[in-house]
Symmetry: C2
C-alpha cells in the first residue's frame, strides 16, 4: 500500500486491525514502535483481575525484551463531555502532567526520560489513556506515580491557564490552519446530528477558551476514579508481580465516584444525503471522501460489524481492493483511494471511502467512478474469494499486532475501556473467520446508502463567497 494512503487512515487501519486503536477523532496519535520478531501465531496468555476499588488490571506477558508497557485507560472521552464543554476531556489529559500533592509538575515525565523510557497520552471520543514504556525495574515507580495522579492531582490557575493557551495553539496549528482537518470536522458534524461524535475531540475554539480549572476538576472527580479505569501492563512481568505492585500502589486509591452506565444519545435514522464543500487557497491537492453512518462493534447486530470490516477490506483496504484497483490502477483517475470501517466505537460510527484525484481530474469524475464501483458491488455482490482474502488480511493483522507489545496493550486497553471483555477480544479472529459473502452483501446493501452518508469535497480554489 503506498505510503500516501496512510495519511488518511487511523492507526487501527494502518495496522489492518479491526480491534481498533483509535476511535473517531483521536487527537494524539500513539507512538508506534517496533519490537522483535513475532513470538507465535497464537496470542499470549492474558490474565485479568479486579482490585477492591474497582480497577480492572490486565497483564499481557511478553518476555522477548526487558521492557514493560504500563498503560492506564479511563472510560471517558470527549463524547462524554457536557454541551458547551467541548475539548474538556483532552484539556484534562494535558493537565494530568501538572503535578500532585507530593509530586511537582514535570517530575513524572522527567523520571521517565531519565531512565530512557517513553511516555504518551491520548484522548479519543470514548477513552483517555496514559502510558509509559520502561525497563521492568521502573514499573513500580510508574505505578506509584500514575496511581498518585489518579486522585491527588493539584490544579492552580497558574498551571491551568497557560495550558489552555497551549491547547488553543494546538487547535490552530492542527485544525484551523489545515483545510483538510476543517473539512473533516465539518463532515463529522454533518454525519453525527445528535451524538457528540459530531463534536471535535480537541473542542471548538470558542468553547476551549471558556474552560476553567473548575471544569477540569469536576470532570476529573467524576471520571478519574479507579472503578472507571483499566490498567494494562504488558511485557516482561508476571501476573503475580503486577498484583503485588498493584497492592502497594493502585489499591490505595479510593473510589471517588460512580460514573455509571455510558448511555449516550443515539443517532436518528438518516433521511437525507448530505455534502460538505470546503474551498481554500491553502489546499495543495483536492480530495474526496464519503462517510456512511454504520453500527460499531458495540452497537451492531451479531456478526454485522465483522462483515462490515470485510466489506472495508474488499472495497478499500489495500492495493488489491476494488476501489484502489479501479481508481488508481485501471482508470488512473486517482493518486490514492481506499476505504475503511472505524468499527471501534461505543456508539454508531462511520465507514469511509476516500480518494485523491490525479492532476487534471475533477472530484466529480472521482465521485462518478467510485459510485460505479459501489453500485457494482451492491448489484452483483462480492465473491467468496474476495471474502477469504479479506479475512486473511484481517487475521494477519492480528498476528502483526501481537508482534508489538505496545500495539497489543493498546488493543486490549481500548477494547476494555469501551466495555468489551477479554473473551470478545480473543474470540474476534474466530468471528471474523466466519464472515460469508452473503453477510458482506447484506451489510453493504443495508448501510452503503447515500441517505446514510455525507460526502466531503476539498478544493484548492479560493472560495468565491
Amino acid at each position: 500500500m503506498p505510503q500516501k494512503i496512510l495519511r488518511f487512515i487511523p492507526l487501527s487501519v494502518a495496522l489492518g486491525s479491526a480491534l481498533l486503536l483509535s476511535a473517531p477523532g483521536l487527537v494524539s496519535p500513539a507512538i508506534a514502535n517496533t519490537d522483535n520478531a513475532a513470538e507465535s501465531t497464537k496470542g499470549p496468555k492474558v490474565t485479568s483481575f479486579t482490585l477492591d476499588n474497582g480497577l480492572q488490571v490486565v497483564v499481557i506477558p511478553d518476555r522477548r525484551a526487558p521492557v514493560v508497557t504500563h498503560m492506564i485507560w479511563y472510560k471517558v472521552g470527549s463524547a462524554d463531555e457536557e454541551p458547551g464543554k467541548s475539548g474538556l476531556a483532552h484539556y484534562l489529559e494535558h493537565l494530568m502532567f501538572k503535578g500532585t500533592k507530593t509530586v511537582p509538575g514535570g517530575v513524572f515525565s522527567a523520571k521517565v526520560a531519565e531512565i530512557g523510557g517513553q511516555e504518551n497520552a491520548f484522548t479519543s471520543t470514548d477513552y483517555t489513556g496514559y502510558f509509559q514504556k520502561v525497563t521492568p525495574t521502573a514499573l513500580e515507580e510508574m505505578m506509584r506515580l500514575e496511581a498518585d495522579r489518579m486522585s491527588n492531582l493539584v490544579l492552580t490557575d497558574e498551571t491551568v491557564l497557560p495550558e489552555r493557551d497551549v491547547i488553543q495553539e494546538e487547535r490552530r496549528s492542527r485544525t484551523d490552519n489545515n483545510p483538510g482537518s476543517l473539512l473533516g470536522e465539518a463532515v463529522q458534524a454533518a454525519l453525527f446530528q445528535n451524538h457528540r461524535y459530531g463534536i471535535p475531540v480537541i473542542g471548538w475554539q470558542h468553547e476551549v477558551q471558556q474552560l476553567t480549572k473548575d471544569d477540569a476538576i469536576a470532570f476529573y472527580d467524576k471520571y478519574y476514579t479507579p472503578n472507571n479505569a483499566v490498567l494494562v501492563v504488558a511485557g516482561d512481568v508476571t501476573p503475580e508481580l503486577v498484583r503485588e505492585l498493584a497492592a502497594k500502589t493502585y489499591a490505595k486509591v479510593k473510589r471517588r465516584a460512580e460514573p455509571g452506565v455510558r448511555n449516550r444519545p443515539r443517532e436518528p435514522e438518516p433521511k437525507a444525503a448530505r455534502t460538505v464543500s470546503l474551498s481554500d487557497a491553502r489546499v495543495t491537492s483536492p480530495s474526496w471522501q464519503r462517510t456512511f453512518l454504520v453500527p460499531s462493534y458495540k452497537t451492531a447486530e451479531p456478526g454485522e460489524a465483522e462483515a462490515i470490516d470485510i466489506l472495508g477490506e474488499i472495497l478499500g483496504g489495500s492495493s488489491t481492493s476494488r476501489i484502489y484497483k479501479q481508481l488508481v490502477i485501471k482508470s488512473k483517475l486517482a493518486a490514492s483511494a481506499g476505504g475503511y470501517y472505524q468499527g471501534s466505537a461505543l456508539d454508531d460510527t462511520r465507514f469511509l471511502l476516500y480518494a485523491t484525484p490525479r492532476q487534471g481530474i475533477t472530484l466529480d469524475q472521482i465521485e462518478a467512478e467510485i459510485d460505479k464501483v459501489v453500485l457494482e458491488l451492491l448489484e452483483k455482490g462480492v465473491t467468496e474469494k474476495e471474502v477469504a482474502r479479506g479475512i486473511n488480511r484481517q487475521l494477519k493483522s492480528v498476528i502483526f499486532a501481537r508482534d508489538s507489545q505496545s500495539t497489543l496493550a493498546r488493543i486490549y486497553g481500548a477494547s476494555l475501556a469501551m466495555g468489551e471483555t477479554l473473551e470478545d477480544i480473543e474470540q474476534w479472529p474466530d468471528r471474523i473467520s466466519k464472515v460469508t459473502a452473503e453477510d458482506v452483501n447484506r451489510v453493504a446493501r443495508k448501510y452503503l446508502k447515500k441517505i446514510r452518508s455525507v460526502t466531503g469535497y476539498l478544493r484548492p480554489e479560493k472560495a468565491r463567497s
Copy 2:
C-alpha cells in the same frame, strides 16, 4: 403575496413582523384570529410588575371587545433539554393538561369550551406557552386554574404513557410522513452543529419513545416555577384588576427552583458549505431552500438584527422583493420564491431563502438564478428606496399586529420569555426606522456567504440508493 408562499413562512413572517411570534421549529402553530379594526398607530400602554415569587406580569389593555387573552410563558424550550431527551419540553406541554391534585384531567379545557373560549399551547426551541381567550368574567378562573397547574400537576403512568403514543403519532403524521418536514429537520441538523436548535422540537422518535414520567416531572420541577415565567393578560382589563386577581392566584405559587441564566452552547464559525438532498416518491413538487447561520436579535451586534430584517424584506419579504420579482415574475422559473429572517431566538439563528420551481424547471436552474440575485445584491448593494420600502413594510406589520389582541400578547410574551425588556419591544420601531442601505449591505456581505449555509433539495424522484 400568493397564499402558497405562506406555507413556508412562520407566522411571524406571514405577519411581516420581526418581533417574532415563533422561534425556529415551533411545533404548535398559534391560533390566528381577527379582532375589530385598529385602535391607533400608537401602541397600547403596556404595564408590568413582578410578584414576590418572581413571576413577571404584563398587562396589555384592549377595550375594543369584551374579551381577554390570558397567557403564561415559561422560559424553557426544546433547546434547554438534556442530550438524549429530545421532545421532552413538548411532551410536558401535552402533559400539562392531565390534571392536578384538585382539578382532574380535562376539566380545565372543558371549562374553557363551556364558556365558548379558545385555548392552545405551544412549544418552541426557546419557550413554552399556554393560553386561553375568554370573556373577562372568566379571567379569574383561568388564572386560578393556570396557577394551580404551575405547581400541582399530577402525573401517573396511566396518563403519561398513552400521551407519549399521541406524540409519536403526531411526529409520524407531521414529520415522518412529510418529506418536506424531514428535509427541514435534516437541514436544521446540518446548520446547527453544536447547538440544540439542530434537534427537532418534537424530538427524535427513538428518544421520545424513551421519555418517562420521571423525565417529565424533573423538567417540570426545574423549569415550571413562577420565577421562570411571564404572565401576559391582554384585553378588557385594568392593571389594578390583574394585580388583584394575581394576588389571589399566582402569588400563592411558591418558587420551586432557580433555573438561572440560559447559557447554551454557541455555534462555531461555519467553515464549509453544506447541502442536504432528499428524494422521495411522496414529494409532489420539488423545492429548494438555503439557510444561513446569522445572529439573532439577542446575539447580534447593535443594529445588525434590524438590518438583517430589512435585508430579508428586500431579498424575499414580499411580491416586490428581488427574489420574487426575478424568479416568479421576470424569469418565471419559480411558482413561489422568497426569503426571511428568523430573528427571534435566544441564540444564533437562520436566514432562509426558498423557491418552488415551475413545471419543467430544475432545482439547479432555480439555484443559479437565486445565486445571481444574491451576487448582484452583494456586489452592487441595495438602494435607499428599497430600504425605505422595507422599513415601511415592517412598521406596517407592527400596526397590523397591534390590531390583534392575541398577536400582540404573543409578541410581548415571546419577547419577554426570551429575555427582552418592554423597552426593547417598544423601541423596536424606532430602531428599525434607522436602518440604512449601508447597514444592510454590511450584514449582507458579512452573513450571506455560502460557507455559512446549508442548501436543501427536495425532489420527487425515488431515491436510487
